[in-house]
């Protein structure tokens, strides 16, 4: 069966707070010239992956221009849900006004769950089970203080509404591909506050193998080559990895420039590649082909190819651009960051 789905609305959200990597490096005695990114987003004390998902979804609804009650599926991809047991999807759907005739579930696959949510909504829309479905990637990522992840683990959300292609479609889905193996490069056990990772093991057998597997798999399946795409976005735990994998696959800096935001906002985990995709849509022209390849530890990658449609021109200004959220910022020092992130022991 062929894919019959398209993006009809998209939206992002980033918290207003930022911390500079130099500030983190000073606290932990690291060479301030050797930090992985410039700065990262920090969620406010009353924000979590659920509240950010709501804001991104509201922006997606503004672009989709549909009443929230028409949403028939809410799938939330996150590795930082506020509850261990109790879905975020129900709260988000209730707040949006999409309940009760609804498919809703929380999904976890490290940094990958956002695109997997997209894939499932694409399937449900294509099959005719639902008319409109909302897929969200959202995270307030945890990094152990002083660990490499403390310098990059950030917060953000992206939401996509899919439906059958119509006259105001933003981008049609051209193809999807998923690549998964059991590769334990990063995990967080039940009840643990911080994740653990296996340092360099995260690179070759995990990030690079899966992203390349999914990207090549999709291109072979679709009969496409890197030069057929105008824009590409890869999962971005740092700036180095996506640049390297782009080069390995044969993509240029020009193709990757809109999708690569980690240096400015940090790694937003399940939201990372979906936020990059949103920034591409903020800039893309109708007819352009876009590739998104996510990566989630554990490990797996989704590759999805889109063709931007005319609807982008009349829809993108209906909600704030990614750039608006990147520029809207307030810096905090490490003490405030520690307070906001509940890193201080109170009892």
């Amino acid at each position: 069966m062929s894919i019959n789905a398209a993006i009809v609305g998209y939206g992002v959200y980033l918290p207003v707070y930022r911390i500079k990597d130099v500030e983190i490096a000073k606290v932990w005695g690291r060479d301030v010239r050797r930090v992985p990114i410039k700065e990262k987003t920090v969620p406010g004390p009353d924000e979590d992956s659920l509240t950010m998902a709501f804001e991104a979804s509201l922006n997606a609804l503004r672009r989709a221009k549909i009443p929230p009650i028409e949403i028939e599926a809410v799938f939330v991809g996150s590795e930082s849900p506020p509850y261990a047991v109790k879905p975020s999807a129900t709260v988000i759907a209730e707040a949006l006004g999409a309940t009760p005739k609804l498919y809703a579930v929380d999904m976890e696959f490290a940094c990958r769950a956002g695109t997997t949510a997209m894939g499932i909504v694409i399937g449900m829309v294509s099959s005719g089970i639902i008319k409109y479905g909302l897929a969200i990637g959202t995270d307030t990522a945890q990094g152990r203080p002083g660990d490499e992840l403390d310098y990059t683990a950030a917060a953000g959300a992206a939401a996509y509404i899919f439906s059958n292609p119509g006259k105001d479609t933003i981008a049609t889905v051209e193809g999807t591909y998923s690549y998964v193996t059991d590769t334990p490069d990063f995990w967080r056990r039940e009840g643990e506050t911080f994740p653990r990772h296996t340092f360099r093991f995260t690179g070759e057998p995990a990030y690079f193998t899966h992203i390349i597997g999914a990207a090549k798999g999709l291109m072979e399946k679709m009969g496409l080559k890197p030069s057929d795409f105008n824009h590409v976005v890869f999962h971005q735990p740092n700036v180095k990895f996506p640049l390297r994998v782009a080069k390995m696959l044969g993509f240029t800096m020009e193709q990757i420039k809109y999708g690569l935001l980690t240096g400015e906002i940090g790694n937003t985990y399940a939201a990372a590649s979906p936020i990059g995709l949103a920034n591409i849509l903020d800039h893309a022209k109708p007819g352009e082909r876009v590739l998104i390849v996510s990566f989630g530890s554990g490990s797996g990658s989704d590759a999805i190819s889109f063709i931007v449609q005319d609807g982008i021109e009349s829809r993108r200004h209906l909600a704030p651009y990614v750039e608006y959220y990147i520029k809207r910022k307030k810096y905090v020092n490490y003490s405030t960051y520690a307070k906001f992130r509940n890193l201080l022991k109170m009892r």
């Binding site: 207003v16 406010g44 004390p45 009353d46 924000e47 979590d48 659920l50 509240t51 709501f54 804001e55 509201l58 506020p82 509850y83 109790k86 709260v91 209730e94 707040a95 006004g97 809207r328 307030k330």
Partner: protein, 134 residues
């Protein structure tokens, strides 16, 4: 304490706290929050539910420096009476704001945030707050 930790209470109040659902009186024109069965101004039962605008301005505010236990981690914080763009008034907590930034007439927008937690193992309460609008 039993009341503030009530789970049925937050379940009952979830729609009005999540959605900015107000009422409009078809007799006197008053727009109010939250929605209720009778107009708070003229007492008419001829009211409709209406989704209120998410933007408005601060009419008055006060700073809470000695907060109830469950809000302790947010203090000092600002409570403001906000007039939404269609005239409805709502009392709400401000967020993403430093004390020295706030002023009467400040443009604000609604956001969905965490209100409080009913203890470490209790339910988390969410709802509308307001933040400065650029």
């Amino acid at each position: 304490m039993a009341y503030t930790k009530s789970v049925p209470r937050i379940w009952r109040e979830r729609i009005r706290k999540y959605r900015l659902l107000g009422g409009v009186c078809n007799d006197c024109g008053k727009v109010f929050y939250p929605s209720r069965r009778f107009c708070p101004r003229c007492g008419s039962g001829n009211v409709n539910k209406v989704t209120l605008p998410r933007t408005g301005k601060i009419l008055y505010f006060t700073v809470i420096r000695n907060a109830p236990t469950e809000f302790k981690s947010f203090e000092p914080y600002i409570l403001a009476l906000i007039e939404l763009d269609n005239g409805a008034r709502i009392l709400a907590q401000l967020t993403d704001i430093d004390l020295e930034e706030v002023y009467e007439g400040m443009p604000v927008e609604a956001v969905f945030r965490k209100y409080k937690e009913q203890g470490r193992d209790g339910v988390i309460e969410y709802g509308i707050k307001f933040r400065p609008r650029e």
